[in-house]
Symmetry: C2
Subunit: 692 residues, 2 copies
């Protein structure tokens, strides 16, 4: 190693090379004096970004020059060991700003030994911290990248097409070869290359920025005149009830805008099977549902791009996830085969298509990547959940539940992975609940019931005060107390159960009417009055409880089926995902027996895991290959034909469960002693007997 | 080698294998008794076709069993050495017919030594004899092929998409793997596999025929229920004036229907440059021209498929050729860059796109292959001419001229290949000629002028009689004598020149009026009355001669420029291609000096070489790779900027030429002694002098 005297800049005459160490990679090498830092980094395989190819335009290649003695590297690095900023760099700093200490590595020449730090944002394969619950790190490695090139002008004596000269430039300036090219790029190429002034060419003539997509083949997707340094993508999660959409900067992975909308297919049926029925009864109905969902995707694209001050044409890449029926409908595939056994998908494989093939009005050459499905009832949304939660990398046995109109259930670890879907129905989303409503200001979201007086207190969305706090009435004056949202329903039922108002088999105990005016007769059953004012009364009815029992029993039975298949009686960690799953208090979910017993500190809300999976696939190409591999390994369980499902379902109707023990839960919550109603299986049973 | 006694069928007990020789390949091998002949052929790499995969459906695998002693192969082959036709084969013979001696090789089992002939039509890489002038052989090796498969039904306990099971079937039954798939195939897949009865499935359920296209990647293009054994393609030659279209059976290479139409862009301008001017003057005008030509392609597709009793959806593959401006316009590329130096093409490379990208209404997944261009004025039509005529495989120095509104000129041999285009204008196509008309019944196509009396005789299209034959008047009563077509104009001018009516510099010699009443004053010049009846008079005017002189001088100058570049003074062979070029008498073309002197037996009409090139590319995948390679080797000459072009042009105005000798021509034709008009350069010159 060539050591240098402290404080003495390397003399160009005395020695012809200098030692440069790049951090954090630690890669090092000797370089001739005068070598640009970007070139040095590239030759060592150090990950430094650049769109403009070293022309001092994009500012992506920024680095920081270390100053001082670096014993670890055996180097003394000084700002003076690098060339001073020249005109081009000063112009960049003036125009676009450059933080103190930052240099453009393409403009900075090596003049002595250096320790050079490449900050995260200057790396191509940068990592972005996810903003939601888990702060998971997403690596960025997009399928589409931008390249700025200078293209040779045409010469009559050496005729060659503009495309050929553009390809030559990409090969020479970026080492990119073997490109296919979209016809629409060729159609726009001549104007793009000749700049705004067309024949003559103003500023930026014979320079352009191209977008290259690499997925199986390399393809030129777009061309713009001059320099451009941003491309965007959309990640859609198409649920039966709601559609979520994230607009991301494809090269940084950052979410720049988000939006959500109701799925307009709801007018054809609330749940999946009613939509499939609609299609069976109405020839051509599949076309109407396809048009409806594609319209919603376009509306969302327009909305989120406007929100970010962009045009829809700025979107070059899209990822889609959804359950199998949403998947088929958005792709224009008739889903009726999914309506009955053997539930055969048209395809379970990942799909790469043009956005125009599904009528998306974004950049005309934009591409769509649809994540793979797993089975007839286990869709691309579940694949996205797996991609986001990564149970296949876990040593712990993980249970992941994405609760919606259907529950997607994944159980496993690095050795085995099982999945199924269970038809919970829309109760968890507030439908079928007498006082249910969407999670919006005014909705009750937290509930406590006094174990002695049976009096409730609660909080509504939009205020931090409890209903028995001073100033509560004032705080909710504007919104009112309008209904109970999904998490509120779980809490009120769980608290009613813990307070002894509801029996283990889910019956409101009429005997409690003697202890509290809140328990009131309601036809042949009883209800619990959670809230009452001049305008409205919010009750929890026996029917409400039945709806939640049916939903939670379906969910638990699905979980139990996977545990049976794996031969286990408990799981190490539980993640509740989905809009509903991530807002409920996991303790109450366990009290009601939505999920099996588990150490509560290991039960977390996973946020919109499907949407996050779609985002990961949007910004990371290798994640696509990864999930395509993993889904093939997933063992699919079809709940509809498993003989044990029905028995698990019946046993799971009880609170928290008829037979399963909940020792972890019992350690932190006073579970009431089993108390069953005289009717045995509640109101429904009584009715049947009377009628029979 | 294992010889068998004459006349004794091999005994299955005595010996376990038999020797089989396939002709014409001569491949041979020993096979276990009972091996199907198709399987034996495949294992030896013998080219035997099959769409149904050995299921006795398609009949493509027919062979003939040799009978007798084959000394050359050392075998005695007998019909009895093959199994008798079973039920499946008899059913095929009854339903679709089987020529005497033919067997289905998939159904025929080896029971002794055999000589088996594979007829041409049973080969995948069959060769088709071209029906036009040269009877060139076209090898068939299409990009798209059909495969019949039986697909496993879905099983709920092993869920997999229909596409995955189809791909498994293709891998198992045909060895085809690594397929991409069009979304539209997925959309149609479930119905196709389940047969017409959908859920339940009638006959043909879980069998289907797929079309696989192999061009860079392998892709599933189409799926049909049950068995299908025909796919079709369209080869288009888009000229400035006319569009030609051939509908071909892709797997046999046969033309099943042909059609032609005027290019509707003519309403925007007769020649290319006037259309480019239209676009320059009318913003958005390129869109109108693009729509017009695409409309014509769709009309032709509908016309030729109807003619063959097919649907447009039966067309899965299209090839397109055309000059650079037609090429750009049909692809939706603004051609204005081709209107001025440096004449830069948007792309010179071959293009693979979907038919929908250029609005073709054929099979929705059909693909289009556009042949590469060569330079700004030398287009995909020239590439097609090269592909058809193959000068790059010739030892002789070949000159190929495709005459239209522009002349495409190719000169070279296996060592070098040069090309240019020369703006001949529309005179050769009958425009700008006072009595010119399209080649249609009633048009004069052959002319002789008596050297002494100067009286003409002629023939018209629709009759074999000469005008001085008995019964001529009767023969042309229905059509009349209506005008002069392209070949007629060449003949009448050449004959007038040979008779001394026209001087070497193209002036009608007024002195000849004294010898014949046919030579009449016409304003300041003279005309020749070729035909006269009560209704009309067909004259050859001085302006007509000028128009042809300008066109032929441009053509000859282009040829001469290429000869200069190659450093040669004569060529070995000349091919006149294009609709006009293939109808003229090559002798008269040489008399007028359209082409340089050459042994007349080596001058041939090449038919529509561009259209033939498009057909070759349609049915032969490797021809595409071949032409893409060759065009890169072609040396492009831009006539517009070659200083010598003008001088060559001026010298080529004379008949046959001012300076070049025509020894080969002189040997067979009595060329008149040079006689120039007193005006030196004719009427135009006189006028200029008077005005000057």
């Amino acid at each position: 190693m060539n050591m240098i005297d402290a404080g003495q800049p390397a003399s160009q005459e005395a020695k012809e090379t200098a030692l440069v160490v790049f951090t954090p990679s630690g890669r090092r090498g000797r370089f001739a004096m005068g070598t640009p830092l970007l070139q040095a980094a590239r030759s060592l395989g150090v990950d430094v970004d650049s769109v403009c190819g070293g022309r001092s335009i994009c500012g992506r290649c920024q680095v920081e020059i270390g100053s001082g003695q670096f014993a670890k590297h055996g180097i003394e690095s000084r700002a003076g060991h690098a060339s001073e900023a020249g005109m081009a760099e000063l112009r960049y700093a003036e125009k676009r700003g450059l933080k103190p200490g930052r240099r453009l590595s393409c403009q900075t020449l090596i003049q002595g030994d250096l320790v050079v730090d490449v900050p995260a944002e200057s790396q191509v394969h940068k990592q972005v911290v996810r903003k939601d619950a888990e702060h998971r790190i997403i690596e960025v490695d997009p399928a589409v990248k931008l390249y700025y090139v200078e293209v040779r002008e045409p010469d009559m004596h050496d005729p060659s097409g503009d495309l050929r000269r553009l390809e030559e430039a990409l090969a020479e300036q970026w080492g990119i070869t073997g490109l296919d090219c979209d016809l629409r790029v060729v159609q726009r190429l001549q104007k793009a290359l000749r700049g705004p002034g067309a024949s003559g060419g103003g500023e930026g003539a014979w320079t352009c920025t191209v977008a290259v997509r690499e997925q199986r083949v390399k393809r030129l997707l777009a061309v713009w005149p001059g320099f451009r340094d941003k491309i965007y993508g959309l990640a859609y999660d198409i649920g039966s009830t709601t559609i979520a959409c994230h607009l991301c900067d494809i090269e940084t992975g950052e979410v720049v805008a988000s939006g959500g909308a109701m799925n307009p297919q709801i007018r054809f049926g609330e749940d999946l099977m009613s939509r499939v029925s609609y299609i069976m009864m109405n020839p051509g109905g599949d076309k109407a549902l396809t048009e409806a969902v594609r319209g919603a995707l376009n509306d969302l694209a327009a909305h989120v791009t406007a929100q970010a001050g962009l045009e829809v044409e700025d979107v070059l890449e899209v990822t889609l996830v959804g359950n199998p029926i949403m998947h088929h409908l958005v792709l224009g595939i008739d889903p009726i085969e999914l309506g009955g056994a053997p539930f055969a998908l048209a395809t379970d494989q990942a799909i790469n298509i043009w956005a125009t093939e599904i009528d998306l009005r974004i950049h005309p050459n934009a591409r769509v990547y649809v994540l793979p499905c797993i089975a007839g009832h286990v869709g691309a949304d579940t694949a996205a959940v797996i991609l986001s939660e990564e149970p296949h990398k876990s040593d712990d046995l993980r249970l992941i539940v994405d609760v919606g109109t259907n529950a997607e259930i994944v159980l496993g670890n690095r050795h085995r992975l099982l999945a199924c879907s269970s038809p919970t129905g829309p109760a968890f989303e507030g439908a079928q609940i007498s006082s249910g409503q969407r999670a919006a200001p005014g909705a009750i979201e937290r509930v406590r019931v006094d174990r002695v007086t049976l009096e409730p207190r609660f909080r509504v969305i939009g205020s931090d005060l409890w209903s028995d706090d001073d100033g509560f009435a004032e705080a909710v004056r504007r919104t009112g107390v309008t209904g109970i949202c999904g998490s509120g329903i779980i809490e009120v039922l769980a608290e009613m159960f813990l307070a002894g108002i509801i029996t283990q088999d889910g019956v409101i105990d009429g005997a409690m009417a003697a202890r509290s005016e809140r328990v009131v007769p309601d036809g042949r059953t009883f209800s619990y009055v959670l809230y009452k004012d001049a305008e409205r009364e919010l009750r929890v009815t026996q029917n409400d409880i039945r709806a939640i029992q049916l939903a939670k029993a379906a969910l638990y039975a699905g979980v139990r089926l996977l545990m049976d298949k794996l031969g286990v009686d408990q799981v190490d960690r539980i993640t509740l995902a989905g809009a509903f799953g991530s807002h409920i208090d996991v303790k109450y979910a366990m009290v009601l027996g939505l999920i099996p017993d588990c150490d509560l500190t290991k039960v977390v809300a996973g946020g919109n895991a499907a949407g996050t999976g779609a985002r990961i696939a949007l910004v990371n190409r290798s994640a696509r290959a990864e999930i395509e591999q993993i889904v093939r390994r997933v063992e699919k369980i079809e709940t509809a034909v498993e003989p044990m499902f029905q028995q698990h379902f019946v046993e799971a109707m009880a609170l928290p469960h008829k037979t399963a023990a909940f020792p972890n839960l019992a350690a932190v919550v006073d579970l009431p002693a089993p108390k069953v109603s005289d009717g045995g299986d509640g109101e429904g049973g009584r009715r049947r007997r009377r009628r029979g």
